[in-house]
Amino acid sequence: MFASRRAFLCLAATAVALPARAADGPAAQLIEKAAAEVIELIKTTKGAQLEAGIRGVLLKYFDIPYMGQAALATHWNATSPEQRERFLKAVISSEARAYTERFSKYGGQTLSVARVSQRPNGVSVVDSRLNQTNGQPINIQWEVRNTGQGLRITDVKIEGVSMVMTHRSDFNSYISSHGGKVEPLIDELEAKSNR
């Protein structure tokens, strides 16, 4: 009985402490702003309107060109400017759709930013927890770096699984099974986003 109460108090103390600590640091603020904007969108819009809103959030808070380049890895250099443009456009469409679908099952989850750690290469890593109404909280890590236009998100890790890294394995495998060419991947991504 005693132990559980202590554990509960510990948890309660952390929960209370989080928002207060989270206020410092521009990287943490960026994540909180994005989360607030998304929750507002989910509450007020639906369907195509929601998808358009999510797309806006992606463009505003994420460094999509950077993430796209990282996901294509060495193949990026082998692509023409037109291909890159088509690729990024298809990625934005498919991500917007994927997030819309994930959020459409929204049931009152909240995001609490826990701590920001600075890496020597100028990247801030923002640890956060997605608190579910039932079940365990989900750990989400945000990688934030300063691009030309200010702070942007460059990767999201959910329970240790990086979005960029997973896409990179996915894309690279597709490319190498299609003659090492990027064109089929772009075609496939475009076809997927039109489906």
């Binding site: 202590r6 679908e101 909280p137 699984v161 997973t166 394995s169 996915d170 495998s173």
Partner: protein
């Protein structure tokens, strides 16, 4: 997870050691920087496609039905029973990992939940402050191996069980070999052992699949090469668990740390 192997427990005891030795000798192989090492990609993709077919026809529909129609309390009960059966192996691994205190808690949990918690249906132990942990030999090997936790040796897709690698596969085999439940039931008779192993495997599979429906559907829908995406996600997720264990940075580790500070005070 491992109950499928049980017929071969005796064989596994030897082959697991042989494999572990092989893994140790080759230093788990060379995985490159980020991509998981996958020299068996052909056979792996073959098993993967069979697994997917079995999943589509049999496992997934049952899991969906279970998730949507089984009352939440029932789902929680089954999950607790499955976890409770894993506690002895968790305790063994915690001893090997050098945390006997943590292992004692796990044994306490097991004794309380198996009796007061009615064969593990109710997680009474958590309510009195004994928090749940889950450890397998895969975690233990990863904890001690002097390599990046992304490097788990070659990747392999196991029949029905799914994504694994040399480290976690060997871990599963050792866990199966040292599991007191299987030793006892197979000690009674082969039939008893098989009934136990089969039931537990089925329950574990149902519990697991119903809990991964959302994440796996999402990954499948948002990838162009599901096999490669799942391989990457599996490798990263396991590496994250092992890295947290090494760095002691997990939320659980933080709580434990705080508990220790509170005790000192």
């Amino acid at each position: 997870m491992v109950e499928g192997f049980f017929k071969h427990v005796a064989i596994i005891r030897h082959s697991a050691l042989a494999l572990a030795a092989a893994v140790a000798l080759t230093g788990c192989g060379d995985t490159g920087v980020n991509e998981p090492w996958d020299p068996l990609e052909g056979p792996n993709r073959f098993v993967f496609s069979i697994n997917r077919a079995v999943d589509t026809i049999a496992v997934r529909p049952v899991a969906v039905f279970y998730r949507d129609w089984m009352p939440a309390a029932g789902q929680r009960g089954l999950h607790n029973v499955v976890d409770n059966l894993g506690e002895p192996v968790t305790a063994i691994n915690e001893v090997v990992q050098g945390s006997p205190g943590r292992a004692a808690t796990t044994v306490g949990r097991f004794l309380i939940n198996s009796t007061i918690g009615v064969a593990g249906i109710f997680d009474v132990a958590s309510r009195i402050g004994l928090s749940k942990t889950k450890e397998g030999m895969g975690d233990t090997i990863g904890y001690y191996a002097g390599v990046e936790p992304e490097n788990g040796g070659f990747y392999m897709v196991l029949p029905v069980i799914g994504p694994s690698n040399a480290r976690d596969g060997v871990g599963l085999a050792i866990d199966a070999a040292v599991d007191p439940f299987s030793i006892i039931t197979f000690g009674i008779s082969n039939t008893a052992g098989w009934i136990y192993a089969g039931t537990r495997f089925g329950a574990t599979l149902l519990d697991r699949r119903s809990r991964t429906l959302f994440a796996l559907d999402d990954l499948e829908k948002n990838s162009v090469d599901y096999y490669a995406a799942l391989k990457s996600a599996y490798t990263q997720q396991r590496a994250d668990v092992i890295r947290q264990k090494r760095d002691k940075t997990g939320p659980r580790a933080e709580l434990e740390q705080r508990d220790k500070v509170a005790l000192v005070r």
